[in-house]
């Protein structure tokens, strides 16, 4: 039986990962002191801090040491592990920018142990709801908290619950939407995998409030670990009387079940999700009626996102007012972002609402890893938009991001530098939406396809200025005439890149130039004679016979024959082939 756990991680970016070396060292020292059976050492994938050298976290004491050298190991074992004394000099400087509410238990407890969750205060909020507050007061607390849906639209959670509660029906349902599908986003996955019980607790409280007797987790099948952990957690909750008949001896009963999503992005849209659970084709239907009035099997249904539900036990345990201390006027609490792209420290961050983009990207993310100038930040996934560098000081909340032409979305955040081409970015997101369109309505189905065709044309140097008007016309029609959120926002990446970077589009169209060197059709390939070692590999690999020359005379590329396949660029070991 272990009495302590040590998590360790090399958090430096860009240097060789030396975790293994450090791990061996630590284990050896523990063995010498015969502590290896009491102390468990875990090489963690993520400890929530970045660029702090070697980091160890000692549990359950929750001591964080950072920037460790090899010689510090012995000291930690002697002082902290053996004698419980804290070595102040090694302590991690308090991370003030991040605030962990949703991720409060992530990495702190064993996700497969309900006991550890309960020791951390788990299921107290449920008890409080059942026996102290009752449904009305829970809604009151939720209202005070100002918690809004974290799935993207930001609808006040208490209102959703209140609607469903107000509808008379013999049967009601609650659903946890865990069909996270934005490219590069994994907030929900982390929560499901590392703290499944807090989501379950949130869902049980929601069910209690609205009077539902059955609930579903709709989890995408690509998250097998999340499915496994939720499955285990549900089984444990049944065992502990936290699910099933007469929960904790109260009058309230609830059954929970899991439904797997088969990978369609649109099934994250609530009406399509309901259709999918019903066994139908996952396509959206018009709202109203909203699911809160007529949802699953035509019964009133509350659908909440994973992150929203993970907030609920915290809100109830600490009180709505306490929760609402954090955030801005309209957006309360924290938001988890998956920060990726050209940022030094990529990963999940949880920050209070109202923090600026600059703080997220520079203070937490460490700026661009290339050292190049930051060009824009993309938020909101494929439904979002780009926010150029000049707006980095905007406080992040639902309204502000919307004003800038983007959205909060589910929490994807991609940092871009000057190597990123905005036409290319628009193309990337649009392609995703075109592939994921359910095909039901023409604005999205055909509009997206036509937009993509025009973007391809532009990136190949075939665009005209008239195309920009066509892009705007189709995008607008898609926004206004599409049925569901996916279609209405699918053109956002085009609209927002056009809004801030129209000149870049024009550069592609008029000068046939892509400054970021992403649009290969607009590039010329050239062999630098001074770097060329005359190996001839480029010529052998050129399928279009555009490279001529000999070992004696050197090699040249005939631009008229070159198809810009990039093969020569890839095979040249001496970086003698360049794109211009």
């Amino acid at each position: 039986m272990y009495t302590k756990t040590i998590l360790l991680k090399d958090t430096n970016y860009g240097t060789e990962d030396k975790t293994k070396e450090f791990y061996t060292l630590l284990l050896n020292i523990l063995r010498e002191d015969n502590l290896h059976e009491q102390v468990q050492v875990v090489r963690a994938a993520d400890v929530g801090v970045y660029n702090q050298g070697f980091v160890v976290k000692i549990l359950p004491d929750n001591i964080f040491y950072a920037n460790l050298k090899n010689e510090d190991v012995k000291r930690i074992v002697d002082e902290t592990v053996k004698n419980g004394r804290i070595v102040d000099a090694l302590l991690l400087k308090k991370e003030v920018k991040q605030l962990r509410i949703v991720l409060r238990n992530c990495g702190e407890i064993d996700p497969e142990s309900i006991d550890e969750y309960m020791e951390a205060g788990g299921y107290q909020a449920l008890k409080k709801s059942l026996f102290e507050l009752g449904p009305e007061k829970v809604i009151e607390e939720m209202k005070k908290s100002g918690l809004r849906g974290r799935g993207g639209a930001g609808y006040p959670t208490w209102m959703k619950w209140n609607f469903t509660r107000g509808v008379k029906s013999k049967e009601k349902f609650v659903i946890c939407n865990a069909d996270e599908g934005d490219p590069g986003a994994y907030m929900d996955r982390s929560v499901l995998e590392s703290d499944p019980h807090s989501v379950i607790e949130g869902l049980v409280i929601a069910a209690f409030v609205v009077g539902a007797s059955k609930g579903y987790f709709y989890i995408r099948a690509e998250y097998p670990l999340a499915v496994e952990r939720i499955q285990k957690a549900i089984a444990q909750a049944y065992e502990y009387g936290l699910l099933g008949k007469e929960i904790l001896g109260s009058q309230f009963s609830l059954d929970l079940d899991i439904r797997l999503g088969a990978g369609a992005f649109v099934c994250g849209e609530e009406t399509a999700l309901i259709a999918s659970i019903e066994g139908k084709r996952g396509t959206p239907r018009p709202r109203p009626p909203y699911p809160s009035v007529r949802g699953l099997w035509d019964k009133p249904t509350v659908i909440n996102n994973v992150e929203t539900l993970a907030n609920v036990p915290y809100v109830i345990a600490k009180g709505g007012e306490y929760f609402a201390r954090v955030g801005t006027q309209t957006s309360k609490g924290t938001k988890v972002f998956a920060v990726t792209g050209k940022v030094k420290n990529s990963g999940l961050v949880e920050v209070p609402m109202g923090i600026t983009l600059r703080e997220i990207v520079y203070d937490i993310g460490g700026g661009t890893f290339s050292g190049k100038e930051l060009k824009a930040v993309q938020t909101g996934g494929p439904s979002g938009g780009v926010i150029p560098a000049e707006f980095l000081d905007t406080p992040v909340d639902y309204e502000n991001l919307q004003k800038l032409g983007s959205i909060m979305g589910s929490g994807g955040m991609i940092v871009m530098d000057t190597d990123d081409c905005m036409v290319d970015i628009a193309k990337f997101y649009l392609k995703f939406c075109v592939e994921e369109s359910c095909g039901k309505c023409p604005p999205c189905r055909i509009g997206g396809f036509q937009l993509l065709g025009i973007l391809n044309k532009i990136s190949e140097g075939q665009g005209t200025l008239e195309d920009l008007n066509t892009l705007k016309r189709i995008s607008f029609a898609m926004q206004k005439a599409s049925l569901c959120g996916l279609g209405q926002t699918a053109s956002n990446p085009v609209i927002s890149t056009l809004r801030y970077f129209e000149d870049e589009y024009k550069e592609h169209i008029l000068n046939k130039k892509c400054a970021a060197k992403k649009c290969t059709h607009l590039l010329n390939f050239k062999i630098l004679q001074d770097k060329c070692k005359r190996c001839g590999v480029c010529m052998k690999n050129c399928a279009s016979l555009a490279i001529s020359g000999s070992k004696e005379e050197g090699y040249t590329i005939d631009p008229a024959k070159c198809t810009k396949c990039e093969r020569c660029f890839e095979v040249c070991k001496f970086k003698a082939v360049v794109k211009e």
Binding site: S437, F449, R473, I474, A477, A481
Partner: protein, 583 residues
Amino acid sequence: MAKVVQAKINNILIRVEEGTTILEAARRVQIKIPTLCKHPDLPPSASCGICIVKVKGSNKMLRSCCTPVAEGMDIITHDPEIVEIRRTVIELILSNHPNDCLKCARNESCELQKLVADFGIRAESFPQFLRDLPIDTSTKAVDLDPKKCILCGRCVYACQEMQDVWALSFLERGIKTRISPAGDILLADSPCVRCGQCAAHCPTGAFVEQDHTAKVWQALQDQDKYCVVQIAPAVRASIGEAFGYAGKNLTKKLYALFRRLGFKAVFDTNFAADVTIMEEASELEQRLLAGKRPLPLITTCCPSWVDFMEKFHTDMIDHFSSCKSPHEILGVLSKTYYAQKMGIDPAKIYMVSIMPCTSKKYEITRSDEMSASGYQDIDVVLATRELARMIRQAGIDFMGLPDEEADSILGEYAGAGVIFGATGGVMEAALRTAHYFITGRELEKVEFENVRGLKGVKETEVEIGGKKLKLAIAHGLSNVEYVLNKVREAKLRGEELPYHFIEVMACPGGCVGGGGQPYMVTDELRIKRAKVLYEDDKGKEVRLSHQNPYIKRLYSEFLEKPLSEKSEKLLHTTYKGRPVYRR
């Protein structure tokens, strides 16, 4: 009383019952909001995105087809911005649709074509790309051209919800989305029962009935052929719609028309309906009194229903009336009885059936029994829509034609025969004659009002000869299961049977709502068409099949009596289970 809500549409104050959609409310104040996917007969699928409107206070545009008017709404249905978006959406749809209008079956009746014309779209704004998929002609009744499909979903609703057949569904997603039977198989290998409701509701030429008018023209040209024709009950009530006249009985103009087209003899399916009644009422009598075969008796005039049963409800085969459908009966009689009487070589007789139905095209080769005369009893079937085309091709001012009569001895009909075209009609006609067969007395009042009307399942009781007969009438195949399950449950529990006699018609409203009828059918129109038939019945001197003097003559001269050996051979058929999916 439903709650009334008040709102403004284009500044016009409206008061409508709660739940009324914006589209419907606008129509009531003379505002037409264009739409491509909303069919007045079907619930909104909300797919096309053309009927969008603005509601003050919301920066979204709402689909008027599915958004109910809410109290205090301030709605704008038309402004330059809305028109521009609608135009863009139409142009987008057009970029995924072939420019085949001139050669398309829906030329001049296509809802997309009309919108394109209304919006004055003269050029292609976006490059065109099409689904490169072949036309599915496998059913021999209804063709599917995936290129022309705009994915409005009407056919899917008709096939799945209205008809419970589930042959059609959406396949794939995004730009590859298409309508197809599940598993991408041919329609003929799918559960499709060829009812044609997909074609009747399709806004474009994606689903159309196979056109066989050329075959008819060819036969009419052939000096060697003796062309005869028969008209189904429901056709006379609807053909006028193709010429701007709804709700008119055009029986006698149709007779004149076919003579002008060159048919040697003009018959009426109603006559054969009277024969059907003679046989079916006898069958009912036998089952009731002699108990030879089990009750309830289920009608089999509808080939789609027969196909549906043979695929999904084979446990009911014993309950099926073995009697063929009226037009098949007329076919076999024309090539036997009529041929003998007139001294014509039956090999030369070419029988054309004018039907409200696409399924009849399939029925004529359904089994060997459809050639009981020794020749294929029906040579070709034209749906009402094809007939309308043929009239135009012939250059005949149809509505101006004089009234004429049908040809004996297969033309005169009793009132009972004509109501076959409406749901409940077969039941009512059979009851009139069954009453006589069972009691030996004639009815004082021949109308059975309870079996009429558009309620999906009609359950009622009548008393015949002191015995209570329990009846059920279902129309629209989705209503069948309820009725059959009640029979199954009673059988299983050994309880008293819920019904003695069941009538089923595949199409909602019966044949008047058939898949081959003129476009834009609604319940209102179905009622209008049915009324024509009921009025025809009312105006007839002879209203009971067994009183039809030509029926009496047929039996005395040829068939002897109902269910005689000859009748069984010529007028009856058998059923067998068929696989739902062939493959």
